[in-house]
């Protein structure tokens, strides 16, 4: 990469600060809408890290897929389910918090130890293909990763159909083949909430 090392370090520090503070905001903020927008910021900063790693294609894919699709989907879901509700207090919330926080801190210290003590066998920078990574990704996708590529397309189709089937509300009033009216009660019970008062 042709950027000076000082500039790289400054960019890396700013991006990682934005990522970490944004991620903490995503999990801690009271309002879920603010969390969703902060999540978009985190995704953009991760794309910036990819640019620092000479991966312009993956950075563009990250912005398109995460910020353009996943984040928008999350914001739509928040819009559809955003209802003020007073949550039932949990009796043992203190001990749960303590246990989960200690698990996370233990895992973090373990990961940091592995990161810092392991000796990574780094490759020589002379081999770097740098800006030609998009070409190399295309070659991979159409030669040795062809089968996963095709399976991914089937997976996306399945996810699309599954999401439509799970999320649709209205059903047709008449059966297409027989013309008989469809019993709506059997398909969807949107009017009466099931099981809400059971627990």
């Amino acid at each position: 990469m042709s950027i000076a090392i000082t500039t790289q370090i400054i960019c890396f520090s700013i991006l990682s600060l934005v990522i970490l503070i944004g991620a903490i905001g995503v999990v801690l903020l009271e309002s879920i809408v603010y969390s969703a927008f902060l999540l978009g910021g985190v995704f953009m900063s991760v794309a910036g890290l990819y640019l620092l790693l000479n991966a312009s294609f993956v950075a563009a894919a990250q912005v398109l897929v995460y910020v353009g699709a996943v984040n928008v989907l999350i914001i739509f879901a928040i819009m559809l389910v955003n209802k003020k509700e007073d949550l039932k207090p949990i009796s043992d919330i203190k001990s749960r918090r303590i246990i989960s926080t200690s698990i996370c801190l233990t895992l973090l210290s373990l990961l940091i130890r592995v990161d810092l003590t392991n000796v990574w066998s780094l490759s020589s920078p002379q081999n770097s293909i740098g800006e030609e990574s998009t070409i190399r990704i295309g070659e991979h996708l159409f030669s040795d990763y062809l089968l996963p590529f095709e399976v991914a397309s089937v997976l996306l189709l399945m996810a699309m159909i599954g999401a439509i089937v799970l999320a649709r509300r209205d059903v047709m009033s008449k059966d297409i083949s027989t013309g008989l009216p469809v019993d709506q009660e059997l398909i969807e019970k949107s009017s009466e909430p099931l099981l809400t008062n059971k627990n």
């Binding site: 999990v27 995460y66 879901a77 895992l107 973090l108 990574w120």
Partner: protein, 107 residues
């Protein structure tokens, strides 16, 4: 200050470790189901940073880590779509997004 040629690999690994642990903390402690999905996305992004850093520092000629990242992004998009659809139908049936009330499968 040290004289560096590039950012060390460990810096990327540390950022992604911290991001992963924040994601796990959010996954364990959130009560809103949408926030749980957001935490899963954070964890997937941490994994992606790891893959990209390794592909750039360890395997910078045959960048297989970048191809893996593309696949992870694909699976994450599919997971978000299906997860939010499940969330919508759950919300329609139980009229809440509180994770504590989804205990039908508890023994």
């Amino acid at each position: 200050m040290m004289n560096l040629e590039s950012i060390p690999l460990q810096a990327f690994l540390l950022v992604s470790s911290a991001l992963f642990c924040i994601g796990i903390w959010g996954l364990l402690n959130s009560r809103n189901a949408v926030r749980v999905l957001m935490s899963i996305e954070l964890m997937l992004n941490a994994v992606n940073i790891n893959l990209m850093a390794f592909s750039s520092y360890v395997d910078n000629n045959l960048i297989q880590g970048q191809v893996f990242t593309i696949f992870v992004i694909t699976v994450a998009a599919a997971e978000a779509a299906v997860g939010l659809a499940i969330l919508l139908s759950l919300y329609r049936n139980r009229v809440t997004v509180d994770m504590e009330s989804f205990n039908l499968l508890k023994w």
